[in-house]
């Protein structure tokens, strides 16, 4: 990691020779490397070298470049496009190239003007640093050298950057420090290394780890259909494909609010401005039930909305995931929400088309699949350089044109993720949210995380699969119902349809704006499942013995089942047990009355 204020290479100067949208050709940049930053024109617009053709460099400019002329100067300092990593990232909101949006609004008002240059981190802010290593210690990359309380929720661990080994010469005493102060010095083989609280890291390069591991803990989201039916593991990858209006963003918001990761990185990539504003206004107010602190204290936001420059959209997901890796390396569990990866792919398409690349499917460049794979590969449960475990889960929304899942971005994404939450238009139309289809979705983490659920109930997987089977049976029967109507089916099948309807309304459908229903604890999920299963098993016996569906639906307690989720809070789940006893009692009574047993 390069230190924040390290002296840079001598700048190289060249000239613009042509401008085509955000792609600029420049000559005279001898010695410039691929992916180096270049400052273009008199405003010093930030760009990145993306192609070198003999003496000509192609630069993609991350800001609006209207007015840029051939002949304008281009300066490169020979440094790759990087993010500044250090304390102060949490609760901040950045654009795609990590410029702080709050700072921009203070400097130029409501609109983003071009050529604004602001440091991503506040260089004046004093952080209370507490050292945990002492001079004379042998230190290695990734080692924790001290701590800072970044927010009441996040202890920021200061690490020796990758590539630095040696003897700790000096470390400052506990006290207030800024990101520009030298905190420690390490005598390395190549000389004295001066360590600071913040440093740069190239966005397109994954940060090193010791090893990757197999994920085994579920990322609990409080969303019943996800946790119970299509769980994702910590360190896993998931995609949420869905046409417009199916609730991708609402699902992403619900996950960002309630999933139990330590750090959330929310990337608004080419989406609506008001949605980011929604996150910005809501998160400081929403309180995490687990620790009573506002959710903003664990969240970093990257906002490159649809009307902001397209190249910055392309880079925004790398900016986000690099910040995620920084916190993972401290030993945290990080969840990255990327909304939407389709807009990122479209940015890639737009730029590649301006470069004159030969297109593959639907105009997308042939390297689309490779880039997607590289991005999702940055997720995972790892042993960090310090030896602790850390993980990154990536949840990417996909916006297929026309809601058609056979398009390239959805297809390629589904190859690289292990969890697929397909959103269903029919469910969304009926305002059944989350509109995740239980027929088209899948997860590959079920067996990996079963061990965790077993702690709660040995039978978890069995129960889950039984309920899932009722839903699948319902799906099959619905084809018949469409042809002959439900009344023409045998009584037991009618009963199955009724139970499936109950699963949909009393379990799968979840209101993320209801104070109780918005977050459902694993215990409550399990108990609700058991209630439904009790109805199916006991009621099924009675129906098979000759009772009608109406006999069962007339049970006084049955109409309450659909309200359990929104009337019983997470800390009173014994009331669900009581309800179950009552239901079983009524079923027993029915059995005695009607069958005379």
């Amino acid at each position: 990691m390069v230190s924040a204020t390290e002296t840079r290479n001598a700048p190289i100067e060249g000239k613009v020779i042509s401008v085509n949208g955000p792609i600029v050709k420049a000559a005279g940049l001898t010695g410039v490397k691929m992916f180096d930053i270049a400052e273009v024109g008199s405003d010093g617009l930030i760009g990145e070298v993306i192609r070198l053709l003999g003496p000509v460099a192609l630069i993609q400019v991350y800001e609006d470049n209207t007015g840029l002329k051939p002949g304008d100067k281009v300066i490169s300092e020979g440094r790759p496009l990087s993010v500044l990593l250090g304390p102060g990232l949490i609760a901040n909101i950045y654009d795609g190239i990590q410029r702080p949006l709050v700072g921009i609004s203070e400097q130029c008002g409501s609109y983003i003007e071009k050529g604004v240059k602001l440091s991503a981190l506040d260089a004046q802010k004093q952080w209370t640093f507490t050292p945990s290593a002492k001079p004379g210690d042998e230190v290695a990359e990734g080692q924790i050298i001290g701590e800072i309380e970044e927010t009441p929720l996040v202890v920021h661990r200061v690490l020796i950057p990758p590539g630095v080994f040696g003897r700790l010469e000096n470390v400052v005493e506990a006290g207030p420090r800024t990101i520009e102060d030298v905190i420690y010095t390490v005598q390395t083989k190549t000389g004295l290394y001066e360590g600071k609280l913040a440093g740069y890291w190239p966005v397109r390069m994954a940060r090193p780890v010791r090893s990757k591991k197999k994920p085994f803990i579920p990322l609990m989201t409080g969303q019943r259909i996800i946790d119970t039916f299509f769980p994702i593991a910590r360190g896993g990858t998931a995609a949420i494909p869905g046409g417009f209006g199916t609730g991708k963003t609402m699902t992403q918001h619900a996950l960002a609010k309630w999933c139990n990761a330590d750090i959330i990185i929310y990337i608004g990539c080419g989406e609506r401005g008001n949605e980011m504003t929604d996150v910005l206004t809501e998160f400081p107010k929403l309180v995490d039930e687990r620790n009573g602190r506002p959710l903003i204290e664990r969240t970093v936001m990257i906002a490159n909305t649809s009307n902001m420059p397209v190249p910055a959209r392309e880079v925004s997901i790398y900016t986000g995931v690099t910040i995620a890796e920084f916190y993972r390396d401290m030993g945290y569990s990080v969840a990255v929400m990327a909304d939407s990866t389709s807009r990122w792919a479209e940015a890639l398409r737009e730029l590649s088309s301006r470069l004159g690349d030969m297109p593959a499917e639907e105009g997308f460049p042939p390297y689309l699949a490779t880039r997607l794979a590289e991005f999702y590969e940055r997720a995972g449960l790892v042993e960090t350089l310090s030896g602790a475990d850390g993980d990154i889960s990536i949840i990417g929304a996909v916006s297929p044109p026309g809601g058609d899942f056979s398009e390239p971005v959805t297809q390629h994404t589904s190859r690289f993720v292990r969890c697929f939450w397909a959103l269903d238009k029919t469910l969304a139309d009926a305002r059944h949210y989350p509109s995740i289809s239980w027929v088209d979705s899948y997860t590959e983490y079920l067996n990996d995380i079963e061990g965790w659920w077993r702690e709660l109930d040995e039978q978890w997987l069995v129960i889950r699969n039984e309920v899932m089977n009722i839903l699948l049976e319902d799906h099959r029967l619905q084809q018949l119902v469409k042809l002959v109507g439900a009344d023409a089916l045998p009584m037991f099948q009618q009963f199955t349809l009724h139970v499936a309807e109950m699963i949909k309304n009393a379990f799968l459908q979840q209101n993320s704006f209801d104070p109780i229903d918005k977050y459902c604890s694993p215990e409550k999920q399990l108990k609700l499942l058991k209630v439904i299963l009790a109805l199916y098993e006991r009621g099924g016996v009675l129906v098979k013995a000759g009772l009608t569906l109406k006999d069962i639906t007339d049970l006084p307690s049955l109409s309450e089942m659909v309200r359990l989720k929104s009337e019983i809070p997470n800390n009173e789940t014994n009331r669900i047990d009581e309800y179950r006893e009552r239901l079983l009692g009524e079923l027993e009574l029915l059995k005695e009355q009607v069958l005379g047993v």
Binding site: G67, Y111, G268, E346, R431, K482, A488
Partner: protein, 463 residues
């Protein structure tokens, strides 16, 4: 200006594009003046090389020749004068007066391309606008600062609905300054005339500005029209503190012009020949709606677009739906049944509704009533498709009640007069009357206390 260089070195003309050779020091997006004899046309640079510039001519290139044309570069982007004196006036698609009166005198000029709003500086829209239309107020509530398009098909009454919204939403907010900006892209004169007459009848024309790039204007001009209209809207909303409703019709024509331009530039097309950047381009228009922290005004956008062959997955409605905060979809089936407004119950959506309704804004039970109406109507649709196969007689009693609910919902709740202005109370009351057709046990999206309060038990032995 005397000192401008005029180029006569035209390399070629293709579609709306002119290629100028031997130019020096010309910037991207600069305004270009093209003189041909006495006539003056305006253009903009799309691409600049060391000695060549590609110019897009807004008025089209018909009649231009390689020889005899004189081109000069102005050195800045397209700007228009903005002032509240522009209200009550009619302009052409480039913002020049076309009502016979002179240009507005002002020293305030704004770049038509605008700048992206900092997401941090946005104020989340929360203020309910009562349009007086039950299908919108009750189920797809419009919020001040929202961008809510109407997805229509040819022949359907989207213009009537937009005009009704403009009239009825304006009457309500007399204490605040409310204004309508109407931009027509490639529509016929009678559509524009209808809007002007409708605004005039309700006496709001003097508070409106009208930009017309009609079907007979050069198609490339349409690409600037919405930007010009929104530039004035930004001035009125954020400099003058007004609440501006911008109606843009028809966005499909705008997209077709963009496709035309892209194809003359030889760009690689994506779906249906539209350029790959259609999404970003539409976003640069639609995202110019909203509210800003520290400012009183707001821009509410209501773009209208016709879906070619009623196909909602066509790139124009599809990409629009991904950017806008919901959509009002008109349905051919309802239209054919004679229901006005034929607003489709299920695919219509308002994303900002959740925060603009409820206690203190509309009524505490609003969200639940809307959710229940959606859920029950979805069931009606399922039962109808079943009835089409097995026949209505074979349906269960409950299913028959649902059908009755569905018909009443369409005929009494959705349907209303072109000048009927319902309050939100009336709309919700109608909603409960519809829900009361169903048995109580079927109402699982509404709270029990609301059922106790609003549900009307069938006491008069209806059946």
């Amino acid at each position: 200006m005397c000192c401008e260089i005029e180029y006569t070195t035209i390399g070629g003309i293709s579609g709306p594009l002119v290629f100028v050779e031997g130019v020096r020091g010309v910037g991207l997006g600069e305004i270009v003046e093209i003189r041909d004899g006495e006539s003056l046309r305006i253009g903009q640079t799309l691409e600049v090389d060391e000695d060549r510039a590609v110019v897009q001519v807004f008025e089209g290139t018909s009649g231009l020749a390689v020889k005899g044309m004189r081109v000069s570069f102005v050195g800045r982007s397209l700007e228009i004068p903005v002032d509240r004196a522009m209200l009550g006036r009619v302009f052409d698609g480039l913002g020049r007066p076309s009502d016979g009166y002179p240009q507005v005198v002002t020293d305030r000029r704004m770049n038509v391309n605008g700048l992206p709003v900092n997401p941090w500086s946005r104020e989340y829209p929360r203020d309910f606008i009562q349009t007086g239309i039950s299908a919108i107020d009750g189920m797809n509530t419009l919020i001040r600062g929202q961008k809510l398009p109407i997805f229509s098909g040819s022949g359907m009454p989207h213009n009537l609905i937009a005009a009704q919204i403009a009239r009825q939403a304006m009457i309500l907010s007399e204490e605040e300054e409310f204004t309508v900006i109407f931009a027509a892209m490639g529509v016929k004169f009678d559509v524009a005339r209808f809007f002007i007459d409708s605004l005039e009848e309700s006496g709001v024309l003097t508070h409106s500005a009208i930009f017309l790039s009609l079907a007979d204007a050069p198609s490339i001009e349409r690409l600037i029209t919405p930007k010009v209209a929104l530039t004035l809207a930004e001035h009125l909303a954020f400099d003058e503190g007004m609440h501006v409703l911008v109606i843009l019709t028809d966005m499909t024509n705008y997209c077709e012009s963009l496709r035309e331009l892209s194809s003359s530039r030889g760009e690689i097309p994506s779906r249906k020949g539209y350029p790959g950047y259609l999404y970003s381009d539409l976003a640069s228009i639609y995202e110019r709606a909203g509210r800003l922290k520290g400012f009183d005004g707001s821009i509410t956008q209501m773009p209208i677009l016709t879906m070619p062959s009623d196909d909602i997955s066509h790139p124009v409605p599809d990409l629009t739906g991904y950017i806008t905060e919901g959509q009002i979809v008109l349905e051919r089936e309802l239209f054919n049944k004679g229901i006005y407004p034929p607003i489709a119950g299920l695919p219509s959506l308002s994303r900002l509704m959740k925060d603009g309704i409820g206690e203190g804004r509309t009524r505490a039970d609003h969200a639940q009533v809307a959710a229940q109406l959606f859920a029950s109507y979805a069931k009606v649709k399922r039962i109808r498709s079943l009835a089409a196969i097995v026949g209505e007689e074979e349906l269960s009693d409950l299913d028959k009640i649902y059908l009755e609910f569905g018909n009443s919902f369409e005929e009494e709740f959705l349907s209303q007069g072109e000048n009927e202005n319902r309050t939100i109370e009336e709309t919700l009351e109608k909603g409960w009357r519809m829900l009361s057709i169903l048995p109580q046990e079927e109402l699982y999206r509404v709270r029990r206390e609301d059922i106790d309060r609003y549900y009307i038990p069938s006491s008069d032995g209806g059946d």
